[in-house]
Amino acid sequence: MFGQSRIAWRVWSLLLLAQLREQPVRMLITVVAIALGVALGTAVYLVNNAALNEFGLASKRLVGSADLIVQGPREAFPESVFVTLAHDPAVSLASPILELEAAIPGVRDAFKVLGVDVFRASAMQPQLMGDIAPHILQLFATDSIIVSNQAAVQLHLRRGDLLQVIVGSKAKTLHILDILSPDTYSQSLGIMDIASAQWIFESIGDLNRVDLRVKNGVNLESFKKILAAQLPASVLVITPQVERDRAVTVTRAYRVNLNMLAMIALLTGAFLVFSTQSLSVLRRRHSLALLRALGVTRLALQSALLGEGVALGVAGSLLGVLLGTFLAAIILQLLVGDLGNNQLQVVGASLRAAPLALIAFLIIGTVVTSAGAWFPARSAARQSASALKGAINASPRTGAGRYFSIALLGLGIVLTRIPAVGGIPLFGYLAVAALLFGSILLVPLLWVKVLRKMPRTHHVVLDTAVAQMRDNVKLSTLSLSSIIVSFSLMVAMAIMVYSFRVSFDHWLTKLLPADMQMREPLGNDTAFWSVQDQARLTAVAGVSRIDFRRTRLISLDAVHAAITLIARDFNVNNIADILPLVQSSALPSTKLPPIWISEAVQDIYGYKIGSEVVVPLAGRQHRCFVAGIWRDYARPAGAIVISRQAYQTATGDHNANEGSIWLSDGQNAARVAAMVRAQFALQDSIEIVTSSAVKERSMKLFDHAFVITYALEAVAVLIGLAGLSFATSSTALARRAEFGMLKYIGLRRRQVIGILATEGMLSSVFGAIFGLTLGAVLSLVLVFVINRQSFNWSIDLAVPIWQLAILGLVLVTAATLTAIISGRAATAGDAVRAVREDW
């Protein structure tokens, strides 16, 4: 056994060195492809991990040592709830908090402010409050606020500066007492005394969070249940872990693209290895046969050949892991991890060493590559003894492949029916892989059929080319497979992105029917327009009509992130005109207020159309009727639309914080916008944009988000093309004897090159059609399974025909050109010598 493995080792090193010497560029490209796949996977993982770590750390600081968090709706609950909790014999410490997203004039994002009782909070959040203790008395001044370092950077604040916040439509001035060190808290945050927060934000008597620490020996789960039963409806008891899990949910979706790309690159790499190894086995069949004749066993030879693939895999994976780590570091530094949406801004996230994960990626890369090398190694070891005297053995072995292929395709279809695992469309990805492999296995079968059906044209070049390909199906299949893999995946991605873009465009158009949109800073709790303000705004000259909206964040359960409640004016009969409905039902005779839920609410909470559900409004549970489901690309956590009238009846809240403005005929948008602003002392607090500008900006953001996708796709296809050209040229070289023979029997060099060009063109046309078809099938999985499971929103399928046609054309042209170039190289020189050399 020892001798055996030593021989395999020697053979391996001999073969590998020879390969490296002879084909350094091809080996390099293969390694790069593998590296790219591994790097993408690694980078996505690391960035995400760092972001989550950072978020986890930040949320840990915010939660501190609390055992339970009693969380109310944003519009708060009475402070008597806190008093009751503080008196509860099972509670050892209760810390009252008023947590608000404050609107800052001229700043687009809301600013998180915590109103805390430092005396109680310092026991609960010692790290966060540690820096505050020395300032405790000054913090009692109602205008005092301490801000985190990140907030100071974002809002350009220094100690002693003044900061304006908008409450209602008025400004209030706060005084920056101190700035926390970046180590204390890395996100944007302001901390005020609870009394000041209630006073400044006009929330006297209100709290919306109470942190609890329970006494030793209290069973957390049963206490949680008791509390939940006692507390007012819409006040939830959550465990701190849930808070962190919510963040995980938020970051999940954006990874889809990059993971998909990583998969493309890795699979392309594996197929490159497969085709490279297959071809090189064919090319070296004499040397291999000789080795066998010299007594090297089949196992040793197979191990040696497999070893070549493994070596490539290890090299590529190592490079990939390094590259991925480097990439992640750059992404974290430059982009400062805004994870695809504004829900989770991660700043200061730093790369963490994750040795286990890196090793895992190393292993994945190596295993996938080795799988690519295993088939050629096995077949080479089987055949090589006979190859010493035989020609290129290129008869396709089709029988077993067919059943395996059908089984894989079947498996792929079944996998698409399985729901996501913890919000990750794991089986969707597996389905893509199964369908891809299953289809690739079909390539030789179909190719043979196509070639057999090819009619004779009596055109010598064409007929010879077809005849040659018929005899060498295996060779042409090999060069085709890797390009089909990358091309089909690229097609699938292109269709998905295009579909998404078209749907997104439609959605925007539906949502922005008015001339202008106005709103207070997104997600803020403090700025709004009172009924008087609304009347004044509507009265502005040039304004024909304003549809006001009230948006609020509400929690439907203790597990998921808060959803957006949108109260807006509309005629129930015309709802389809203002909402991008995907499903609607007839209104029932019941008096229940109808609501329209976004697809995310449908997916996450399982609410069904036509059913009755409970929605917390102003601290009370209201039964509502689900009258329709609409598509929403803006709020991944979910959104519910309710009529403003029903909302006002339930809550008594007549304020608004968003509006759509219709201009009177012939009015200038900029002038009206200026006049609307002039209604308020804080002119720059409101964001007013024309709908077309919103749309333009949104589409630009959309395209921006997919730039990386496009770029990486292109790289994957370039690698595929490189693989194809290497395959072509090495085939051409391997067939020099054949070309010599053709020349010998009277064909001119131009005709020989013509034969090669025709082969390249025909096979690449086949590859392009096959790739397009396969890509279209895979795109269905992407659009309807992976997209839906990741984002909880639907996309209408749309095919970018021109884009795909051009891609296909590029592929065919590139393949034909490559064939011509390699043909020229291979046919240069003496025919007789070529024949002799090869035999």
Binding site: E79, F82, V83, A86, H87, P96, D117, F119, R120, A133, I136, L137, Q138, F140, A141, T142, D193, I194, A195, S196, Q198, W199, I204, G205
Partner: protein
């Protein structure tokens, strides 16, 4: 005279737009039970209970303190969280067998019924820590992290009015003064819990209740205070305020003899002489823990129950000081038990 630990911290850097409290004036007669209660109009106030406890075979010292202070606040703010009053409680148990001090403290804003200092009679609490006076008995309940006290404290004597009928001057200026009475010879029964193990205790205690708006003047850096329940039924309170040179800045005291005759001391009547020092292994601060005191014609020697009775509250309130149980003797003869407080031996205390 006792120092509000938290107050030292809280007074540092307070802006001067302070809601200045009522002035302490000579001649206002203390009336009871009204003056047992809280005096919210004064800036600071404290109830300070100290004493010796006995379990079977052990002698322990204890102190329970409730402070009240009025920070500067926006009086317009209608929030019920507005910190119109802050309450601070501190509790320590001197445990010679374990050679350690058990201590814990709490700070809260008064309000919402969770922490209050009531007027009318002594009733002050922070969550489940409380001190309440009812029908000649104080009930003290402290549930600390790793120890607990549950004491019933019966009064046996009338309040001892310190200074001139309860007006206690703290420096050369008559403006720096407090209203101050003590109740010596309180009889304690109850139980204490340490590390989950409960023991019945009995003993004798001393209560100080003092309130003021301007306590010390700028020349004070620290002080000594002692209160002794004398074995013959008498009681001694004496204090010395030190200036930055470590010299006496002001002294004072009150002595009630066994027959109930009260003697109020002038600054020249009281002398403090350090006899032995102890260096804290934790902070490196050197405390004179053994003293010779002259109060009028009587001379006392004070010896600590254990040397290490250092209170380190730097993490919460910033103060490090020594406070602990002492025994007193006159001419070598055991004459009483009490408590001694030493402040300003580390960093000078900065009282406004």
């Amino acid at each position: 005279m006792r120092i509000a630990l938290g107050l030292m911290l809280l007074c540092v850097g307070v802006s001067v737009r302070a809601t200045a409290g009522s002035d302490v004036l000579e001649g206002r007669a203390l009336t009871f039970p009204g003056d047992y209660g809280s005096h919210a109009e004064f800036r600071t106030e404290w109830w300070y209970l100290t004493g010796w406890l006995k379990t079977e075979g052990e002698s322990l010292g204890f102190q329970i303190t409730f402070f009240r202070t009025r920070p500067t606040v926006d009086v317009d703010n209608l929030s019920s969280f507005t910190p119109r009053q802050l309450l601070i409680a501190h509790c320590a148990l001197s445990d010679p067998q374990r050679g350690r001090l058990w201590q814990d403290q709490r700070i809260r804003r008064a309000g919402l019924g969770l922490a209050e200092a009531m007027s009318g009679d002594t009733h002050v609490w922070i969550d489940d820590w409380s001190l309440e006076h009812k029908s000649a008995t104080y009930i003290a309940k402290i549930l600390a992290e790793d120890f607990a006290l549950n004491l019933s404290i019966r009064t046996t004597q009338q309040p001892l009015l310190n200074g001139r009928a309860g007006y206690s001057q703290k420096g050369p200026s008559p403006l720096s003064a407090s209203y101050y009475y003590s109740i010596p010879h309180l009889q304690v029964i109850g139980n204490i819990t340490r590390d989950g193990k409960s023991d019945a205790v009995h003993g004798e205690a001393w209560l100080d209740h003092e309130w003021s708006s301007q306590y010390l003047d700028g020349s004070a850096i620290g002080w000594e205070w002692v209160g002794i329940n004398l074995n013959d039924g008498g009681a001694l309170m004496a204090f010395r305020i030190r200036n930055p040179k470590g010299e006496s800045h002001w002294t004072g005291g009150t002595l009630r003899d066994a027959h109930g005759t009260t003697q109020v001391f002038q600054p020249h009547d009281v002398e403090f002489q350090a006899k032995r020092t102890w260096v804290s292994p934790r902070t490196g601060i050197k405390y004179p823990v053994q003293w010779h005191i002259r109060a009028g014609s009587r001379e006392f020697d004070l010896k600590p129950l254990l040397d290490d009775q250092e209170n380190d509250t730097r993490l919460s309130t910033g103060a490090v000081y020594w406070e602990g149980a002492v025994s007193a003797s006159e001419a070598g003869k055991d004459s009483g038990r009490g408590y001694l407080e030493l402040t300003g031996y580390g960093e000078p205390l900065r009282l406004r």
